[in-house]
Symmetry: C2
């Protein structure tokens, strides 16, 4: 077996410099491929960096989740969380840079979703030794896949005490703006039955596709609510996302199914949202396919207010669904706050202004400094 | 090479006895497997039988179509036509019999569609040597498959003089009742466009599935015409037979397609029927996928009247589409008339009362005798 020198071992291990520029740290994280399910190399690198560059923290590994926390005896505790995984590589690794009007743009898979957010938190972990609140860092795996593989769930089951806090910040891309809470989302199927017949003798059957006319008219005429919750405005949505029906070109079809996605504001529980849909489509057979709960903005907490002030005083409602609602379910107010345009998440051409990463890191430092 | 005796050669050739009971002849035809594209054995048997048992006829082979005709110099000529092919075997060969309340029932593939009709015509070909009209018999292949393989089309292209006549009877199953003409049938696609967007930001898109609400309401409220043509009543139909749309569970879809089958009475041309649909769905993008022309009943011809009288004086409108319209397109009035319930065509349990076959043969003999 050949001897391996210490420096090359470190290189093989993806050494991260946490104290340096968080935008450079983002590029280093992007260059460690970490598609969901294959996060070990990035988790190893993060764990190693925290153990060697943030000795003031208690570090813990749990599968491919890396946890770290202060124990300063502060009255309040804040969780800073970010997932380490990405969607599959799409000819967008390694990272590359481009000089633009607004400075250097960093391109590459995960630059937006969400290694910029991870970098700001890792930078803070190593450089802010005396935060005003105790802080728990959670870098987790499998956010981009089925909910039951999500690393936050692993921690919830195996190390629940690591998820106790008064407030949480999820570093998902939010254009560097604080996004409060998130809407709930559910998919339902509206199934109409009919009676099959030859289309030349249609009066002997009953057309299930025709029976979708009512539900579709309801959808087309639906006026979604705009709801203010804790000072933020949420725009609900009710959209058909799929429709199927038909047996053959000469057969009156006996079944048709409309799939509808409902986005609902955090003033309603999932149960209330389902009840609303059942009222809307009263005579149809309605099945809930899946449902993720909404989260209230979490801005009523004084710790949240400190973050909003550090960020310049404003916050907006989160449109999509994120893991913020997992914290809400644990009773922890939570917000999204991270660099990058969320509209570019999962796009091949993910890119983020390196200056925005630095600005977000600076806001976080003001918030906790 | 082993010597083969004449009788066993004949057996190998499926010898048909045309002069015997047409119901027995039906069973013999059923037992010669003849799925579309593999009609050679049955065409060989039919050709051989006509050449040896109906020497008064001029017999002609054209691919797997067998033609035969009288040349008695009568002022009028009638075509009797039947296809020799069947849909694929479905564990329903060879034929078998069952004694029922109304006599013997013959079971097996093709017993309804349409070897009963073929048998009545073959029986007539061999036994009616002096018909009152000249008669052309057409036994053809590939009716159950794509229209451009249909044996009638082959004859039309290669031996057009064999399709000159004043009236045609197609022996397709009609419960032994004369069915006049046939409705046209067309399939159209109604395509609605939208603009794709994330369903959490639905206001940035335009939902193509929602845009089907209008066309579906039109379909659900449509009152199809009942039209009298030459004394027969045709019931039109307008039925959605398929619907598709949807990109993903969280995407506002940008396209949805409704497929509609229109059955239209023979008082309209295909062009008029399309114009009607364009008027009905005025603002939608409408594409005609396929269209088969209708055929008027053909009962205005005095020869047709003789057949109706021989059959007991009544006729009904044909619901489905048959090759009758091919004759109509050639300017030949045509009707369907054959033993068996058309609702059993293509069903695994095809079956026909043997007495009904004999009755239809008797009506045909009275008509032409």
């Amino acid at each position: 077996m050949a001897a391996v020198s210490a420096p090359s071992m470190l290189r093989a291990m993806n050494v991260l410099d946490l104290a340096a520029d968080p935008a450079e740290l983002t590029a280093a994280l992007v260059d460690i491929e970490s598609v969901s399910g294959a996060e070990q190399p990035i988790a190893d690198a993060v764990e190693h960096a925290l153990r060697t560059q943030a000795e003031h923290l208690e570090v813990r590994r749990c599968g491919n989740v890396v946890l770290a926390r202060t124990a300063l005896g502060r009255p309040r505790r804040v969780i800073l969380a970010g997932h380490l995984d990405t969607v599959p590589v799409n000819d967008n690794l390694p990272s590359w840079r481009e000089e633009g009007e607004h400075g250097t743009i960093l391109h590459g898979l995960g630059s937006v979703d969400m290694k910029g957010g991870d970098a700001t938190m890792l930078h803070l972990a190593a450089t802010l030794r005396e935060p005003r609140h105790d802080v728990t860092f959670v870098f987790y795996d499998c956010e981009e896949v089925e909910a039951d593989r999500n690393g936050l769930g692993t921690v919830e089951r195996e190390l629940p005490e690591w998820l106790r806090a008064d407030f949480a910040v999820l570093g998902e891309a939010s254009n560097g703006v604080i996004e409060g809470g998130c809407q709930g989302t559910m998919r339902v199927e509206i199934r109409r039955a009919g009676r099959r017949a030859h289309s030349a003798r249609a009066w002997m059957g009953s057309n299930a596709i025709h029976a979708l006319a009512g539900p579709l008219a309801t959808l087309a005429g639906y006026e979604p609510r705009s709801v203010e919750v804790d000072g933020l405005t949420y725009h609900e949505g009710l959209q058909a996302v799929g429709v199927t029906g038909g047996v053959a070109g000469n057969v009156v079809p006996d079944e048709a199914v409309l799939t509808v996605n409902h986005r609902f504001a955090p003033d309603r529980t999932p149960e209330q949202a389902v009840a609303h849909l059942r009222e809307l489509f009263d005579d149809a057979e309605l099945t809930v396919v899946d449902c993720s709960a909404p989260a209230r903005p979490g801005l009523t907490d004084p710790v949240a207010d400190q973050l909003v002030r550090a960020a310049g005083g404003s916050a907006v409602a989160k449109l999509g669904w994120t893991d913020v609602s997992r914290f809400a379910a644990l009773g922890i107010p939570a917000v999204n706050f991270g660099p990058g345009d969320p509209a570019l998440a999962h796009a091949q051409h993910e890119q983020v202004a390196m200056a925005e990463i630095r600005r977000v890191a600076e806001v976080m430092r003001q918030f906790l400094g």
